[in-house]
């Protein structure tokens, strides 16, 4: 059986109510699911002996501005065993701007989630150290949100005295 079919079959049998949506883009399998299941699904993909997605390459988000579920959190994970890359997606709404952390599954996702929090303001539940990673800690905005002006907000970042 092809790996893509195997993954979708395994996920659907193990998480029957996760509302999966499978799609393909440029030969990569994209899996969308309900954000409540992010931690168990990631744990499963990493620990299943036939899949072994050991590497979490990136965690980022997309701001859709006016869409109902405003943000999509995107995980790029990689299986060294199969030389196979998988994209996971979960929608997050602005009113409940939280998603569970996967830092217990992949240690590297600690900083990637901090970056995502810094840039988009999405809170990761149970994260061990959810602080800003790039911007100064007293900064009040999330710069990669669509409603943040590109040039920034005057006076929001401090300059030294002349």
């Amino acid at each position: 059986m092809e790996l893509k079919e195997l993954i979708s079959q395994k996920l659907q049998t193990n998480f029957s109510d996760a509302e999966f949506e499978f799609s393909e883009f440029r030969n990569e399998l994209n899996v969308k699911f309900n954000k409540k299941f992010v931690n168990p699904i990631c744990k499963f993909l990493r620990e299943d002996s036939e899949l072994e997605f050991l590497l979490c390459e990136d965690i980022t988000a997309v701001d859709w501005a006016k869409r109902k579920n405003r943000f999509t959190v995107v995980y790029h994970i990689f299986s060294l065993k199969h030389n196979f890359r998988l994209v996971l997606k979960a929608d997050v709404d602005e009113t409940d701007c939280t998603i569970d952390t996967v830092s217990s599954v992949w240690k590297t996702s600690d900083w990637q989630e901090r970056e995502c929090y810094d840039m988009y303001g999405i809170k990761f539940n149970n994260h061990p150290d959810l602080r800003r990673i790039y911007m100064p800690e007293e900064f009040e905005y999330h710069p990669l949100r669509k409603d943040f002006p590109l040039i920034g907000i005057p006076g929001s970042l401090s300059l030294p005295k002349k």
């Binding site: 790039y134 911007m135 100064p136 040039i151 920034g152 030294p160």
Partner: protein, 173 residues
């Protein structure tokens, strides 16, 4: 050579102290290489044998601000970095000069963005701006010559009003 011809066999010559100090100062400018990004590569190139900043007496790049009198800010200064740049500038002894090297440092350049300071003259007194992205080493040497001309015009009384800068010292008790 020029100096022997001036001495003219007498073994001495008369000048003003101001002129002598300015002459010595302008021909031994010690740069503080504040290399923050890609402009720093061109700044390093200006020190190599091809461009040879030593011809202008500035080969002594000191990596401590306390021994420098010219700060070459070479690279994109972000708001976070600006505090570090200012802190290093404050540690340099007076009199001191600043070159803003490259488009990013002078105006923010192509980074018209929330995180980049749109010109370091918002927090530093810049003497010479160097155009280019990055500027060629000859362009930086031209800036150095401009600074030398500026130093050559100084007199001791220009520095009489200088006071020690207020440093924000964090004391560890």
């Amino acid at each position: 050579m020029g100096l022997e011809a001036k001495l003219n066999g007498d073994g001495f010559f008369v000048t003003k102290m101001d002129a002598l100090i300015a002459w010595a100062r302008k021909n031994s400018v010690y740069p503080m290489p504040m290399g923050i990004s890609c402009c720093a590569i061109e700044m390093m190139a200006s020190a190599d044998p091809k461009y040879d900043i030593a011809r202008f007496g500035s080969e002594v790049m000191r990596f401590t601000p306390r021994q420098c009198d010219l700060m070459i800010v070479a690279g994109t200064v972000t708001y976070k970095m600006s505090h570090v740049v200012k802190k290093i500038y404050d540690q340099m002894p007076d009199p001191k000069w600043v070159i803003a090297m490259g488009a990013c440092t002078s105006t923010g350049g192509m980074y018209r963005s929330y995180s980049v300071v749109q010109g370091i003259d918002q927090f530093l007194p810049v003497d010479v701006y160097v155009a280019g992205c990055p500027p060629r080493p000859d362009n930086l040497l031209n800036a150095l010559i401009q600074i030398q001309n500026k130093i050559g015009r100084t007199r001791a009384r220009d520095f009489q009003s200088l006071k020690l800068p207020e440093l924000n010292v964090i004391q560890n008790n």
